[in-house]
């Protein structure tokens, strides 16, 4: 559908519900930056006003809040009266969201769009039983955190939503708000978190046997990511991690569903309050503390649940070689070195990375999560800062990818099979203005 044929969508007044959370303030900043008049709604006016300061900090501007106002849920009917978009950022609890949407349904203007920032709850369930008018204007708009840094966004339209309206909203998100947009089906965790947390949880599972520091080294930034996997889980928060993997494990079926079973040691530690970076004293996979004026870092031993000193001498020779190639921008040689490295450790790392490629590309297709492999590439680059799956295939080589998948007993994917048959052109990676090399750290 070309831009000329899209229905006109007005997006001048945005109401953010649950504005005091990180995503609420981040979304408010995004819409205000795009020139919208924004109303921040929270339980009490003080909480809403707190978000004003956060928005100023995000936009690095005092004047940005000149177009932002604050309100409470008591004013809901008044606030929603002129809204073009009602953007829900409440906590990730289905019942909370259902309650607020029922209230919104009663008073929303007939043409107002309603969206949830949920990172993986069911769009249909959230709006079940609500009016036809609500459902036909309802979508998930999953922004990645923090929105001013991560540009990826997943749009999950309610099945009742008009396709033209969906396309118009996506066009606005891309062109007015600078988002890297993909459309997803209403499946648990959508695309980015489904693919990303499969890898993160698999690494957490492997850490039980191989240790945290070694796993973060083997699947470290050199494999195509800004941050090592278990450090990422600490940043995200173990509670969030648990919510995402449990949701997928309970509500999805696929060839790698076992990778979503959270390891028992994580559950035990969560029970004792260990949530990663947000509980710095207790820690997560890592625990940082100051001793004698120096910042020190300890790492979790999953077997004992105790923290031990980080080993500064832990170096894996093939990882160091690959990093040296990447440091000079020799990504092809780096990946060749990675693929040819010998030994059990190289096999562990390769199996995770090939598993990522296989799992991502198998989420593409008619009855799957996204329509094209470029969608998977777009969300993993712009939502996770990870190397695009198809870009990895290009560097590994199509035939070598096929051989590696076989070697590690991982399923091929329709797009790979089609490429091997010569039915789609290679190199596969085709996102304009995105350089896969940037994701392979030195």
């Amino acid at each position: 559908m070309t831009t000329e044929t899209l229905p006109a969508v007005r997006l001048e007044k945005v109401v953010v519900l649950g504005a005091n959370g990180a995503m609420g303030a981040g979304s408010g900043a995004l819409f205000a930056s795009g020139g919208c008049e924004v109303t921040l709604v929270a339980r009490d006016i003080g909480k809403a006003e707190q978000a004003l300061g956060q928005i100023q900090g995000i936009a690095k501007s005092e004047t940005i809040i000149n177009s932002v106002s604050c309100a409470t849920y008591d004013d809901l009917a008044t606030v929603l009266a002129g809204a073009d978009l009602i953007f829900e950022c409440l906590a990730e609890e289905l019942s909370l969201k259902k309650d607020i949407f029922a209230r919104v349904d009663a008073v929303r203007p007939p043409n107002a769009l309603v969206a949830t920032v949920s990172s993986g709850l069911s769009i249909r369930e959230m709006s079940a039983g609500l009016s036809q008018g609500f459902q036909s204007h309802f979508a998930g708009i999953h922004l990645y955190n923090p929105p001013h840094v991560m540009t990826g966004v997943e749009v999950i339209p309610h099945p009742a939503m008009d396709r033209g309206l969906v396309a118009a909203v996506e066009d606005l998100l891309a062109n007015r708000f600078g988002r890297a947009v993909i459309t997803c089906t209403d499946t648990p965790a959508f695309a980015g978190n489904r693919i990303g947390f499969k890898v993160l949880n698999e690494v957490a599972q492997l850490a039980e046997k191989h240790g945290v520091q070694l796993m973060d080294t083997l699947v470290g930034p050199y494999t195509g990511r800004a941050m090592a996997p278990l450090a990422t889980v600490d940043l995200v928060g173990w509670d969030v991690h648990q919510a995402i993997v449990d949701n997928v494990a309970a509500n999805a079926t696929d060839e790698a569903i076992g990778s979503f079973t959270m390891p028992k040691y994580m559950g035990d530690l969560i029970h004792h309050g260990h949530l990663g970076d947000k509980t710095p004293e207790l820690g997560g996979f890592y625990r940082k503390f100051t001793l004698d004026g120096k910042l020190r870092s300890e790492v979790l031993d999953p077997a004992s649940g105790k923290y031990v000193a980080v080993d500064p001498g832990l170096k894996v020779p093939f990882v160091e070689q690959v990093r040296a190639y990447h440091r000079s921008g020799r990504y092809q040689q780096g990946i060749d070195c990675f693929m040819e490295a010998e030994g059990a450790q190289a096999d562990i790392a390769r199996k995770v990375i090939l598993g990522y490629v296989s799992y991502a590309l198998n989420r593409v297709g008619k009855d799957e999560v996204v329509a094209t492999y470029a969608d998977a590439d777009r969300i993993m680059t712009a939502g996770f800062n990870w190397a695009p799956p198809s870009g990895l295939v290009d560097l590994i080589g199509l035939k070598r990818t096929a051989a590696m998948l076989k070697r590690y007993d991982l399923p091929s994917a329709p797009v790979l099979d089609a490429a091997l048959r010569g039915e789609i052109p290679t190199p596969l990676f085709n996102l304009p203005y995105v350089t896969p090399g940037r994701y392979f750290a030195g």
Binding site: G178, R327, G329, R438
Partner: protein, 410 residues
């Protein structure tokens, strides 16, 4: 010109990247930009006969000199390639282009690869600001002064104020235009940043003065960036066009160039121009020379300008020095919307140094690549409709080294 010089295209890295955070050495920037340019132009690497690098201060920022040699590292076919590096502060990239084009004009080589590169995020802003001070007369104008360059370009604004009057709201408008244009440029550093005219006019904790009248919103960016373009003789371009079924008249060429150097010290510049209608007469002369060589009657014969807005005051200066207005009346072009993307003569459709970013020694090459994109209709979201001729102005120091190109198609 003895031999025409054609531009066969090139490549720019994403200026939003932080190569230090990626743990990359400057050699990675060379590898990516040359690989990207070879792919974009489909030029066989064996055809490249010479390489030139524009860079300001890799020795300071990355403890690495001898940058020409890194071109040889980028492809096995470049073994033995003659290379060199050129430095004239922020005009380094243009100097590299001038050297490469002079060789082609002289018939010495048929195909030249020009790379402009700077890795700046390797140090904190205070240290980087000190390094940039070496583009001035360091001992006299920068030693012991924090952020010397905003102060020097603040003084350029003060000089305008003294001679003609200057309103800061016009500077704020320049900033807002550059940021707005950058939002349309997928490789611009600030494409995801917040900016509005209201913010640019504000003076508060997020937009404080950092040097005289210069506020944060008046400044260009600290940028990691690399740019590569290929310059070619008519002989090579004919072969290149024939192999690809292209019309040689549609391939851009350097129609004219200008290059002058003023005294290094800012006080000396101002003293020298005291009785001149132009505050920076050598910059004006570089522009006139380029127009004369290009047989361009005046600025209205070009369709867009990529200028050196290291600060809003330098763009303000460029407006009257290019001749959009009489000296001192740059504000008229700003108020009348002439320089906006859809205006009569857009300035910095790319976002310029403020919006797109300013990898110091690379900027001159970036400007010429953007000129190429404009006149070939390949600038995407920041395309100036129907652009046939684009002028560039690249300045080193406080208005010291001025280089101008006119790039166009027939």
């Amino acid at each position: 010109m003895t031999e025409p010089v054609f531009i066969l295209g090139g490549y720019q890295t994403d200026f939003a990247r932080n190569w230090t955070k990626e743990n990359k050495h400057i050699s990675a920037m060379f590898n990516e930009v040359v690989t990207g340019a070879l792919q974009a132009t489909q030029i066989p690497p064996e055809d490249v006969e010479v390489g030139h690098v524009g860079n300001f201060a890799a020795e300071l920022y990355t403890m690495q000199g001898h940058l020409g040699a890194f071109l040889v590292e980028t492809h096995p076919a470049f073994s033995g390639l003659p290379t060199g590096r050129h430095e004239a502060a922020c005009a380094s990239g243009s100097i590299a282009l001038l050297a490469a084009s002079a060789e082609i004009e002289a018939g010495r080589y048929d195909l030249s690869m020009v790379v402009g590169v700077e890795q700046m995020k390797s140090v904190d802003s205070a240290r980087g600001g000190d390094f940039l001070g070496t583009a001035a007369w360091y001992e006299k104008e920068a030693a012991g002064i924090s952020y010397p360059f905003p102060k020097l370009f603040g003084r350029l604004g003060d000089e305008y104020d003294k001679r003609f009057g200057l309103k800061d709201e016009h500077l704020a408008h320049i900033a807002a235009i550059n940021y707005a244009n950058a939002k349309k440029n997928p490789l611009a550093q600030t494409r995801g940043w917040y900016m509005s005219e209201e913010h640019a006019k504000s003076q508060d904790r997020f937009n404080s003065n950092i040097g005289g009248r210069i506020k944060i919103s008046d400044c260009s960016q600290v940028t990691d960036g690399a740019i590569c373009v290929f310059l070619a003789s008519k002989r090579y371009t004919e072969k290149y066009a024939k192999a690809r079924g292209l019309d040689i008249n549609k391939i851009p060429r350097i129609l004219g160039w200008g290059h002058h150097t003023a005294p290094l010290g800012f006080d000396e510049k101002v003293a020298e121009s005291r009785d001149n209608p132009y505050v920076l007469p050598h910059t004006r002369q570089a522009i006139l020379d380029a127009f004369n060589r290009a047989k361009v009657a005046d600025v209205w014969a070009v369709d867009a300008i990529e200028t050196h807005d290291c600060f809003t005051t330098s763009e303000y200066m460029a407006i009257d020095h290019f001749g959009l207005t009489a000296p001192g009346k740059s504000w008229q072009a700003i108020e009348e919307g002439v320089i906006e993307l859809d205006g009569q003569l857009p300035i910095n459709p790319s976002g310029g140094l403020i919006g797109c970013g300013h990898p110091v020694g690379g900027t001159g090459v970036r400007q010429v690549l953007d000129a190429y994109r404009q006149v070939t209709g390949t600038a995407g979201g920041y395309q100036v409709e129907g652009a046939k001729k684009v002028a560039t102005l690249n300045i080193g120091g406080s208005g010291t080294t001025s280089c101008t190109f006119v790039v166009g198609v027939n």
